[in-house]
């Protein structure tokens, strides 16, 4: 099928199998390899992207379901404050989980801001419960989320 959708603000058109995973469309067709595959079954969060502003696992989204949608990956704009916080707090080590962590953090902070609620430790842990990390032990990840929350507010 011809898949037309918006990726990081630009209109894109690619020829893909309708059930191709959005993850593969992004990585293989559009060469946006910042989005990572950890498990391929929805468990790890490494493949997190935004679709119409919501964090989803791109390994579970069929290409046909991205038609006409607005997709934002780690390569997109708007993650800068969160990225800086991950850098400064040491929230990234090997980096495999990091794109997913950053995109999920952005969705979380935007939601908190919309609802006028602070980004607490408790809420941050819950928001990132679907993002697994084998390196950091999560302490510095959560510190980065809170630091970024302070900056965007």
């Amino acid at each position: 099928m011809k898949l037309r959708f918006t990726v990081n603000g630009a209109e894109r058109e690619v020829d893909v199998a309708p059930l191709a995973r959005l993850l593969d469309v992004l990585r293989d067709e559009l060469r946006l390899t910042g989005t990572k595959e950890g498990c391929g079954e929805g468990e790890c969060g490494a493949c997190t992207v935004l679709v119409d502003g919501e964090a989803v696992m791109s390994c579970l989204v069929a290409g046909c379901q991205a038609a006409g949608r607005d997709v934002v990956t780690i390569e997109g704009a708007g993650h800068e404050a969160v990225q800086q916080a991950f850098l400064e707090e040491g929230g990234a080590q090997c980096g495999i989980c990091t794109s997913g962590m950053i995109v999920a953090t952005r969705a979380f902070l935007e939601e908190r801001e919309r609802e006028g609620k602070p980004a607490t430790v408790e809420a941050a842990r819950e928001a990132l419960a679907g993002n697994l990390c084998r390196c950091t032990g999560y302490g510095k990840v959560i510190a980065a989320v809170l630091a970024a929350g302070g900056e965007t507010r």
Binding site: P18, M57, C64, Q65, F108, E126, G130
Partner: protein, 280 residues
């Protein structure tokens, strides 16, 4: 994968596409169950009707007798919507991580009919009714009858789940829900339990309970209901009712997540605890 995939834009188009469909035709909603099955080869897609774009199947609205939930309502929406209350909200909150909840739908939870599904025990215990639509018309059936076996349901190939009606809480009805998994977020249930009950004049006048991950499908607990109906719910009665339900109504197995023995013991304890909450 040489599947024929269609993504209808309207409900009528979807129903037309399903007309004369065979058991090979799959409905794709949020994909959180199906995409995994496609990837690991457990399900080979041939003909797929992608219903994700059907906004007619989305949303929550108050209706005579309760709240009507569109089949495509996601767990994230159930968690957020002010019309969705108590146990259903609690159950939706526990379906996986944020990224899963943004895609996992009510219709998909019923559709997969997994014994570990978290919304289904709530739908069973509240006696929710599922509405199925086809080009030929619609029919309704209690959710507890819709699920017929291990990952099996009563949907005909030409039908889709349109919505579910969750009855409003009766006066002095009390409800409770508990899920026990390996960790707090994103884990499949070892045991999941929902109960709705009423006590009038010191006696139990209504009781419905349903449990997941303790049999090949989500099950109601009729022995529990029978043992307590019309009785004063004192500690001894509750204990013996819980014991008979664990003995007669469930058939747990050993698997990677837990053992049969642990599940029986856990269900017994959860039953006692939740019964204390709703019958107090």
């Amino acid at each position: 994968m040489n599947a024929r995939v269609v993504s209808p834009r309207t409900l009528d188009d979807a129903l037309a596409e399903l007309q004369g469909a065979s058991a090979d035709t799959l409905l794709l909603a949020g994909g959180t169950d199906l995409m995994v099955e496609f990837e690991n080869g457990r399900t080979e897609p041939r003909h797929v009707v992608d219903v994700w774009a059907l906004d007619e199947l989305r949303g929550v609205r108050a209706e005579d007798g309760g709240v009507r939930l569109g089949a495509l309502t996601t767990c994230a929406e159930l968690e957020r919507d002010p019309l969705v209350t108590d146990v259903l909200r609690e159950a939706a909150r526990e379906v996986g991580a944020v990224q899963i909840k943004n895609r996992a739908t009510l219709g998909g939870n019923l559709g997969t009919a997994s014994p570990a599904a978290d919304l289904n025990p709530v739908l069973f215990a509240l006696d929710a009714v599922v509405r199925l639509r086809s080009a030929a018309g619609e029919r309704e059936l209690p959710c507890a009858e819709f699920v017929t076996g291990y990952r099996a349901n009563a949907r005909r190939p030409d039908e889709l789940i349109e919505s579910v009606l969750v009855p409003a809480r009766a006066e002095n009805e009390r409800r409770a829900f508990r899920k026990v998994g390996t960790r707090k977020a994103q884990s499949i249930s070892k045991v999941v339990l929902a109960i709705a009950a009423r006590v009038d004049g010191g006696a139990v006048t209504a009781l419905r309970a349903a449990a997941g991950s303790v049999a090949e499908r989500t099950v109601l607990l009729p022995s529990l209901e029978q043992a307590l109906a019309g009785r004063a719910p004192d500690a001894a009665a509750v204990e013996s009712a819980a014991r008979s339900a664990v003995r007669a109504d469930v058939s747990p197995i050993d698997d990677v997540r837990s053992t049969a023995r642990y599940r029986r013991e856990l269900l017994f304890r959860l039953l006692k605890r939740l019964l204390r909450e709703v019958l107090a």
